[in-house]
Homo-oligomer: 222 residues x 2
């Protein structure tokens, strides 16, 4: 099915052919679509041929109704856009508490990062990260999260080393404010790293293997 056909269906629907009927000329339809009368006429013929419109002539105009088949096409388009514009802005990922490599602690000790995390969390961050290992369905959410733009934490150079940009999302674990950090130039490791103002293992008395759900605000921007 061509795009011009869907556009014609849409214009006819907007003119009232979806709920009832519309009496329209091919010139008028062409004008609303930004094409010629001839092209519009063709569209109507094509759509009738496809069984998406019914047509009768009334007072030299075409009385057009969109059939259920035509309506289904429009509804599919609509659903695509709904997915786009009515997507959630919260994401909950559940993971298993795991012991990290100590890398997170090393990063949190870097003053350039600390200053920026402090602005995000509202207070000095604890010098370490909580690592949550995610698997299966939850890993898909992590992939999604990695594609989103959150709060950008700028990289820097220090002691001859390069520290890269970090993507950051505000989040909460059982209403305790925290943040998920995602190094921008790293590959997927199935680990969610969480920072907070306190040591989360202590706050919630967590041990390796405990499952924790984290609510992430994916709408958070710089």
């Amino acid at each position: 099915m061509k795009h011009g056909q869907i556009e014609a269906l849409k214009q006819l629907a907007l003119a009232g052919a979806a709920k009832g009927h519309t009496d329209i000329t091919s010139s008028e339809l062409g004008k609303s679509m930004g094409v010629s009368q001839q092209t519009a006429s063709n569209r109507i013929l094509e759509l009738v041929e496809l069984g998406m419109l019914t047509r009768e002539t009334v007072y030299r105009r075409q009385r057009i109704r969109i059939t259920d088949k035509g309506l289904a096409v429009l509804r599919k388009e609509y659903m695509d856009f709904r997915r786009l514009f009515e997507a959630y802005d919260r994401l909950t990922i559940t993971g298993e508490v795991a012991t990290g490599s100590g890398e997170g602690r090393y990063y949190l000790q870097q003053n350039e990062y600390r200053k920026q995390f402090e602005r995000i969390l509202g207070s000095t961050p604890f010098e370490g990260t909580l690592n949550l290992r995610v698997k299966g369905r939850e890993a898909g959410k992590l992939t999604l999260l990695e594609s989103l733009d959150g709060i950008l934490v700028n990289g820097f150079k220090s002691e001859g080393r390069t520290f890269g940009d970090v993507n950051c999302f505000l989040a909460a674990i059982r209403d305790k404010k925290c943040a998920v950090i995602i190094p921008l130039r790293s590959h997927h490791r199935g680990i969610v790293e969480v920072i907070s103002t306190q040591r989360l293992r202590d706050v919630f008395n967590l041990d390796d293997g405990d499952f924790v759900a984290i609510d992430i605000d994916v709408s958070s921007k710089a």
Copy 2:
């Protein structure tokens, strides 16, 4: 702006370029659009040229983000569809009580019509119509109503005369169930004709010139 461009924008948005970014190849985009790699590549170039996308190269893939300008185009499309699928199903028209030509009463005396109106109202209709004259903005609503498909009341022949099809909508005046009838082959006269099981002038003590609001259920179908 071409349709192919809007389709490309939509596909990129669905791939995540609206909320964040998507790393995609021109082949992949082409596949999702049902066009070749070359065409998809062209679309991306065109959209960048139009300022609707930003692009950088990451790991031999194109990291694409939709700009606010691109998002505006998608949002406009979405709004068109929303108008289509989230339209009201009630319409209130206010009109002035007027004395009709007596035609309504004549129609209501025809047994073929009476039987069908009785099925619609649930009980025998009163042998007459209440005429409401509508003007200005309200007249526009009447035009809209005339374009909708309601409950079809079939025409017939009797005493050598042809009685045409009538379009009918369930309605209510101050919670009193009634119906609006619209002869299918008549021209707009700025009059809403209302039938009910009782004489509405008596029920509400109406005189010519009184204003009455009628709530019409435009979703009512045969």
